[in-house]
Symmetry: C2
Subunit: 159 residues, 2 copies
Amino acid sequence: EKFVVHSIAHDTGVAKVAVLGVPDTPGVAAKVFVPLSEAGVGVEMIIQSIMRGQVNDIAFLVRKEFLGEAIEVSRRTAREVGAQGVAFDTEIGKISLVGAGLANHPEAPARMFSILAGESVNIDMISSTSMAITCVVSSADVERSVKALHRSFIEENPL
Amino acid sequence: EKFVVHSIAHDTGVAKVAVLGVPDTPGVAAKVFVPLSEAGVGVEMIIQSIMRGQVNDIAFLVRKEFLGEAIEVSRRTAREVGAQGVAFDTEIGKISLVGAGLANHPEAPARMFSILAGESVNIDMISSTSMAITCVVSSADVERSVKALHRSFIEENPL
Ligand SMILES: C[C@@H](O)[C@H](N)C(=O)O
Ligand SMILES: C[C@@H](O)[C@H](N)C(=O)O
């Protein structure tokens, strides 16, 4: 019997960077990520939601050791494209529900978010695919979040 | 020799829904997705970026056939949590660069976004993992975007 959720993963070796209030026009995402690539800064969990007004925010995670470089490069880009600025946060972690077919199982994100709510954990960023639902939370909340998710999805009530 | 980018995927059978201006406090994401799950509405590409002020937007994709149900459920939730409202769009498609180890290859998103910029395609939403970089664009832009990405990443300059 194939489980939809296989495992819970977590990673506190990441930091968040966000370029805020970028013009929402073609070419801007390229302007953000080309210099990062040229600087050899690996990027994970790129997230851009829908625009607000004519601007958008582009957020991404980097390994903590690349944060300084990522901020420096991003500030230069922000000036060039007329963005509002650059925000960053090192006190974060990412938690992933890992599995398969999650797009056909809405109970997976529903339960994951309910469990985090039950732990009074605020969800900072969310990104999902058919194979993983990833939440960014405060690093202080990672341990108990992972424990609670593991208890429900792996131990007590496998999905 | 293992390629980092294996293929280009696309899907125009999706519609976008966004619950706008939700309070950014624990339990809100659960309030959005539990009713959708109870209504049997599958959700893909959930995206929530960093908050702005004390509010955030939660966007997600559904198969087009579930859009009506998703909007109805989401509007009820929006009222309950004091959100600003619900936006939706059917004239979209998602395009994915599919591969492996993409978090260590920042040239992949840099090139993907540059190619879309070269086609004057505006990128509406972005979500990435180590295995895929997915962009939401207007449905009218999907065909030429996929062609251009395929020409570069698969035919002419495999990564
Ligand atoms: C905001 C940014 O993604 C912009 N829409 C672009 O296409 O590059
Ligand atoms: C916005 C929403 O994700 C909220 N932060 C929550 O934790 O539920």
